[in-house]
Each structure stands twice: as structure tokens, then as C-alpha cells.
Amino acid sequence: MEAPSQAQGSAPGVEVQTHGSRRTYLIGLAYAVVLTVASFWAASTDLVYAPGVPILLGVFAIAQMGVHLVFFLHISSAPDQANNFLALAFGIFVVALIVFGSLIIMGNLNHGMMPMERLMQMQP
């Protein structure tokens, strides 16, 4: 029989273990601090090739969001978390659709727009 606890599921954030839960938060904190400091460092340093900085910042941010989800919200891919995990995956999908869709469409519209000087000349 496939994953009996899956039907009942468990809510996000519920952790069954009675030991080490506080440790989970502290491990999460350590990762989050390292990633935050790394982000601020990357934004202010000259050591990194400048056009690569936004990519580096993006990587740190996504990693930190993952750390928060796993260590603070206790989201995992365990069988009893299937509902939460699917909802999260759908949420990420829609967020990506909104953000990148807007950027692509607005960039395209901006590209196709007549330059302002030409537009001014056409005024009667």
C-alpha cells in the first residue's frame, strides 16, 4: 500500500521529533547568516566580476529561501508532506510566471515602442 500517512498528511511546520528541534532552528540560522553576509559582501566587493554579481546575488537569495523553507517552515519532500510540497511547487510556478512573464512582456513592449523624439515630432 502506498504511503498510508499521505492521506492524512501533516501541516507545514509540524515537526514530530522531540529532540533536536531547537538545533534545527540554530542550524538554519547559521546557514541563513552565512548566506546573508555573503550577499551583502557580494554586493559591495570588487573581487567579483561586476556583471556576475546579480547572478551571484540570485543564487544566494534562492539558497537562503530554501534554507528558510527547510529549517524554519520544515517543508520537506517526505510522503506525509506531499500536499504541502505540491502546493509550494505550484506557488513557485505561478510566482515565476508572474515575475518573468511581466519582465519579458514589458521588455518587449519597451523595445517595440517608438523613440520619444520621433513621438514628439509626430505631435501636431
Binding site: A7, Y25, V99, L103
Partner: protein, 212 residues
């Protein structure tokens, strides 16, 4: 899962019922249903932020001759704000562990620390906003500033609501004690608070560190 302490035990006892067929198992416990429902709310709340992030990303260059982000933002200030919110997320986690143990004094302590850190964050953000408006860089100045105040202001509003909710929850613990209803709400509050911290990671990366 042999020994589970405190308020969690009734729900987790159900998890052992592997031999009971799906059709005979009945509805999931209220705690699971409430938690899942609140998780869906949080994801839809994050969609609001996604729309605001998209607006900000599109408009961040449209400064209308006014100040740019790089001229306005102070990295040190933002770093302290980030530290406050991250620390409050962890103390909130410790607080929710105390709620699970139904440990009253520990709950009060950690949640009070959470409140103070959250209030410090809000105070820093408010001082940033007022100094920006005072220097003429208010939300009506350019499309970039409108998008900035909409995005960061919405996050600040969420933190404000979270602080009010936290006060209500502490009052409920004081008056009603650790009833299942109260611990459930506390648990939803903790999810809300952690989710706000995730949104802030996006804010400080895209808005403040990505400023050009």
C-alpha cells in the same frame, strides 16, 4: 514515533494507523487541515508580493530624473533590518517550540523577544521612509519610488499585522491557556512570521542589493 509529548500526541497517534484503509480513516485532524489551509493562504499572499516584485523589476529604472536606488539606500541600515528580522524568525521558532511543550513562561519570553525585534525592524523601516519622504523622494516622485514604496510598504504592513496578531495570541494564552484552538493559531502565526522573512530575503536582494 513511540513517545510524543504534549499537545501533539492525539494527531500523531493517527499516523500509526497504517493498517486502516483509506476509506475508513475519516477526516484529517483539525490541526492538519488548519495548517494546510493557512499554508495555501501564505502561498497566495506570496503571489501578491510576486506581482509587486514584477512591478518593481519593470519600473526600477524609471526614476524620472529623480534619485536612483543606489543614491537613496544605505546598506548598513538594511543589514541591521535584515539581522532583526532573521533573529526574530529564530526566536519565533523557539517560541513555537515552547508552545508545543505548553511552557508558559518560555512562550512569553521568546515571543516578547520576537515582538521587540519585529518592532525594531518596523521602526528602522519607518525612519527610512520618513527620511526619504522628507528629502523629496516620496512615492509620488517617480515610477521607481512608487513601486519601491508599494513593495516595501506592503511588507512592512504585513509585519505590522503580524505584531498585532502576536499580541492577540499572547493575550489568548494568558486568558484561555494552551487550548488546542490557541496552539493552532499560534502555529499559524509562526508560519506567517517565517513566510514574511522569506519575502524579506527577496526584498533585500532585489531592491537594496540589486540597486543600480
Amino acid at each position: 514515533m513511540s513517545v510524543v509529548e504534549g499537545a501533539l500526541s492525539p494527531e500523531h497517534a493517527l499516523g500509526d494507523a497504517a493498517s486502516v484503509p483509506l476509506s475508513l480513516r475519516g477526516p484529517a485532524p483539525t490541526r492538519v487541515v488548519a495548517g494546510f489551509g493557512f499554508w495555501l493562504f501564505l502561498l497566495s499572499d506570496i503571489l501578491i508580493f510576486a506581482a509587486l516584485f514584477a512591478a518593481y523589476a519593470v519600473l526600477s529604472g524609471e526614476t524620472a530624473g529623480g534619485p536612483t536606488g543606489a543614491q537613496l539606500f544605505e546598506t548598513r541600515h538594511v543589514f541591521i533590518e535584515t539581522a532583526c528580522l532573521l533573529a526574530s524568525s529564530v526566536t519565533c521558532g523557539f517560541g513555537s517550540l515552547a508552545v508545543q511543550r505548553t511552557d508558559r513562561s518560555s512562550t512569553y519570553f521568546w515571543m516578547a523577544v520576537t515582538f521587540v525585534l519585529g518592532a525594531t525592524f518596523l521602526r528602522l523601516e519607518a525612519s527610512e521612509f520618513t527620511s526619504m519622504v522628507a528629502s523629496g523622494a516620496g512615492p509620488s516622485h517617480s515610477a521607481f519610488l512608487s513601486a519601491f514604496f508599494a513593495l516595501v510598504g506592503t511588507h512592512g504592513l504585513h509585519v505590522t499585522v503580524g505584531l498585532a496578531w502576536l499580541v492577540v495570541m499572547l493575550l489568548q494564552v494568558a486568558t484561555l491557556g494552551f487550548q488546542p484552538m490557541v496552539t493552532r493559531r499560534f502555529f499559524c502565526f509562526a508560519l506567517f512570521w517565517h513566510a514574511l522573512d522569506i519575502v524579506w530575503v527577496g526584498v533585500f536582494t532585489i531592491v537594496y542589493l540589486g540597486a543600480h
